[in-house]
């Protein structure tokens, strides 16, 4: 598409929209970064010039609010979920896609139907299940329900579709076991898919709020989202320290995004086509 005149009104408008939109998108991040350097009062008043409190805010965040513990908790939960999740969901997707059968297709259909059920509908029975198992206030309670994901299985199925079955047939003729086919032949070329799924699951778990809110009762088990929300309820809010915690909560996802944009977006898009 070529534009004849360089600065036609249309072009100006386009750039205007982009700049304003970009500013709106970025401003909260910018303000958050500045906030990490200010004292609590200045954060609220909205000073947008950097201050010099970043060191003391960091100390408050790590000493008074146990930032590192919460960070590690969140990281541990997210990583374990991803590890278990990618394995189990990939296995299931492989089974559904490459070993089609009427029975399994029916089951898959039911799985798809339940995609529509919102989290709020099952949290209460799940809560009572975990309290019965004495698993409340544990990280297992947060990891286990998130491992299996119909959405991820669906996404992986679409990608498995594209893997040529002939190669699998050839391997069978060679005498490779089915499991061997999965591990040695199919998986290596599905790395991008697995990466996308991993990223998607990581983010979902890293940011998860409602379920941990219900199951975590003590500080030792808290995750970053719960910590942030708690801090907003305190008698005196340490805004500077809070900004640091918010920063840290965004950091891993931001890094993932910037370094793995393609897989990141692919993970989120699922299989729109």
């Amino acid at each position: 598409m070529s534009v004849v005149r360089k600065w036609s009104p249309a072009r100006l408008l386009v750039w205007f929209v982009l700049v304003v939109g970009g500013f709106i998108s970025l401003f909260p991040f910018f303000w958050m970064l500045i906030g990490t350097t200010l004292n609590p009062n200045d954060v609220v008043r909205g000073i947008i010039v950097p201050g010099s409190e970043i060191a003391s805010n960091w100390v408050k965040a790590t000493k008074n609010y146990n930032l590192l513990l919460f960070f590690v908790n969140s990281l541990k939960i997210a990583l374990l979920t991803v590890l278990l999740g990618v394995l189990i969901n990939a296995l299931a997707a492989f089974g559904f896609e490459k070993y089609k059968s009427k029975g399994r297709e029916k089951i898959f259909g039911i799985l798809l139907l339940t995609l529509i059920i919102p989290q709020i509908a099952i949290v209460i029975p799940m809560f009572r299940l975990f309290s019965f198992l004495h698993l409340l206030n544990t990280h297992a309670a947060i990891i286990l329900p998130s491992v299996m994901s119909v959405f991820i299985i669906f996404f992986m199925r679409q990608n498995f579709k594209m893997f040529p079955t002939e190669i699998m047939e050839a391997a069978r003729v060679d005498g490779t076991s089915e499991f061997g086919i999965l591990v040695r032949i199919v998986s290596p070329s599905m790395k991008a898919t697995f990466a996308s799924a991993a990223i998607y699951m990581f983010i979902g778990q890293w940011n998860s709020y409602l379920w941990p809110l219900m199951t975590i009762l003590t500080d030792a088990k808290k995750t970053l989202p719960i910590a942030m929300s708690s801090m907003m309820s305190m008698y005196t809010i340490e805004y500077g320290a809070l900004m640091i915690i918010v920063c840290m909560s965004i950091l891993p996802v931001l890094i993932l995004f910037l370094t793995m944009q393609k897989q990141f977006v692919a993970g989120l898009l699922g299989s729109v086509k």
Binding site: L87, S131, L136, N137, A140, I143, S229, M234
Partner: protein
């Protein structure tokens, strides 16, 4: 590779799923409470007293700033898993819990606590039949806190207000004067909180419920209280905030010249040493035109409870009995200390002999002997009945009042109707 993978998987699974080994630490007592400047501090002092005689016991005080009742509910529903040994409950919430979870708490009367030594009005909410479940903690005697320096700046003499039994109409005059000269609103008012209206209503001894537990909002006291709040707001005397911590920073940072609150706010006030010498407190203003109105009220107050599921019940009980329910010099000294430090006026009658109960407190304007005043005011407050639905009523009324302040609802009658409707719907009765 396959075997290694499976093994690694199993290892990780195991590590993740084995809940942290929680063999009850034999010498540890865990306490949940909120407000580290007040409740947390007080409990810490009690722990220090206990540790002198029992240095091997660890008493861990956990600050739960958000929805402590929700967490406790979750724990009680789970049969006690995740719960601490001791938890703090506000007096107006405990009845609901005692009713819903009759097996959840330890009967402290049966465990040997002598309740004759505690103020009778505190023991009421924690009694069910012959059992008594809590250790009474603080009183919620109220007053109107004012910034003496700002009153001076408005050209008035703070001393002329000291100790005076004023009416709300007098406060309106004061508020207008302060506003005119300094531009500051006199009283910080948290729109998300019910305390203000509650204090006014309870200063007349009026209840929110009938004896049979049914709701009764159409009382002269509540109507007068709501009308008074509206008047204060219309005249610009209230500094409205949209949250508890915004409310705190409003008076701590000098955005407003005062607040209506119980003495347990002292810990929060004192957390700002730069405000030393600026605060004074006068008797709760009188709600005019309502029978039974007094210059005193009660707001809140909490007590300590022991969970039946606690792994260290005996230790927790011993701790409480040797500190909060004890008359040893060390215990009385700790009661004396928390009074001065954070305004925690215990309801343990023998502790009233402490020197701080009558001594001047240099933090306050002209070293006002605040506790002497609060003590005197506390005597005037009648017993209040809470019921299990207090919190629901609380929420319903405060939600209904907000639109009135914003000019959306027109009449007080509408406010009461809206509150009754919401109460009916959220409580299901």
């Amino acid at each position: 590779m396959k075997k290694g993978l499976v093994f690694a998987l199993a290892l990780i699974l195991f590590a993740a799923l084995v809940p942290g080994l929680s063999a009850a630490d034999a010498k540890k007592v865990t306490v949940w409470c909120w407000d580290p400047n007040f409740n947390g501090y007080s409990m810490k002092q009690a722990a220090a007293v206990y540790n002198k005689a029992h240095p091997d016991v660890t008493i861990e005080i956990v600050d739960i700033p958000e929805n402590i009742e929700g967490k406790i509910t979750a724990g009680l529903q789970a049969g006690g898993s995740g719960l601490p040994d001791i938890a703090l409950f506000q007096d107006f919430r405990i009845e609901q819990f005692l009713q819903d979870y009759p097996q959840g708490f330890v009967d402290l009367k049966a465990a040997g606590v002598d309740y004759s030594k505690f103020a009778a009005y505190k023991v009421g909410p924690m009694t069910v039949g012959k059992s008594i479940y809590g250790i009474p903690f603080d009183t919620g005697s109220t007053g109107l806190w004012l910034r003496a320096d700002m009153i001076k700046a408005a050209g008035l003499n703070p001393d002329s207000y000291m100790g005076k039994n004023l009416k709300w109409s007098d406060i309106v005059k004061l508020g207008l004067a302060v506003k005119a000269k300094t531009g500051k609103a006199l009283i910080a008012y948290d729109t998300t909180n019910y305390d203000f209206i509650r204090i006014m209503v309870q200063s007349t001894g009026t209840q929110f419920f009938n004896k049979d537990g049914s709701l009764n909002l159409r009382t002269p006291a509540l109507k007068a209280a709501i009308a008074q709040v509206k008047d204060l707001n219309d005249k610009g005397i209230l500094y409205l905030t949209e949250g508890w911590n915004n409310w705190i920073s409003a008076f701590n940072n000098g955005d407003s010249a005062g607040l209506l609150q119980a003495l347990w706010i002292i810990g929060t006030l004192k957390s700002k040493p730069e405000n030393a010498g600026k605060w004074m407190v006068i008797p709760t203003p009188l709600l005019e035109g309502v029978a039974g109105a007094q210059n005193a009220s009660n707001n809140g107050g909490s007590s300590w409870y022991v969970f039946a599921s606690s792994p260290n019940k005996a230790l927790a009980l011993d701790f409480l009995k040797s500190t909060w329910a004890s008359s040893t010099p060390a215990a009385l000294a700790f009661y004396n200390d928390i009074l001065k430090q954070c305004g925690a006026m215990g309801t343990y009658l023998p502790s009233r002999t402490g020197t701080n109960y009558t001594a001047p407190d240099e933090y306050f304007y002209k070293s006002q002997a605040v506790f002497k005043d609060f003590s005197a005011w506390m005597e005037k407050v009648p017993v209040l009945m809470y019921t299990a639905n207090y919190q629901t009523m609380n929420t319903a009324v405060k939600n209904a009042v907000l639109p009135l302040l914003q000019g959306k609802t027109k009449s007080i009658d509408d406010v009461l109707t809206a509150a009754e409707t919401e109460y009916k719907q959220t409580s299901g009765q």
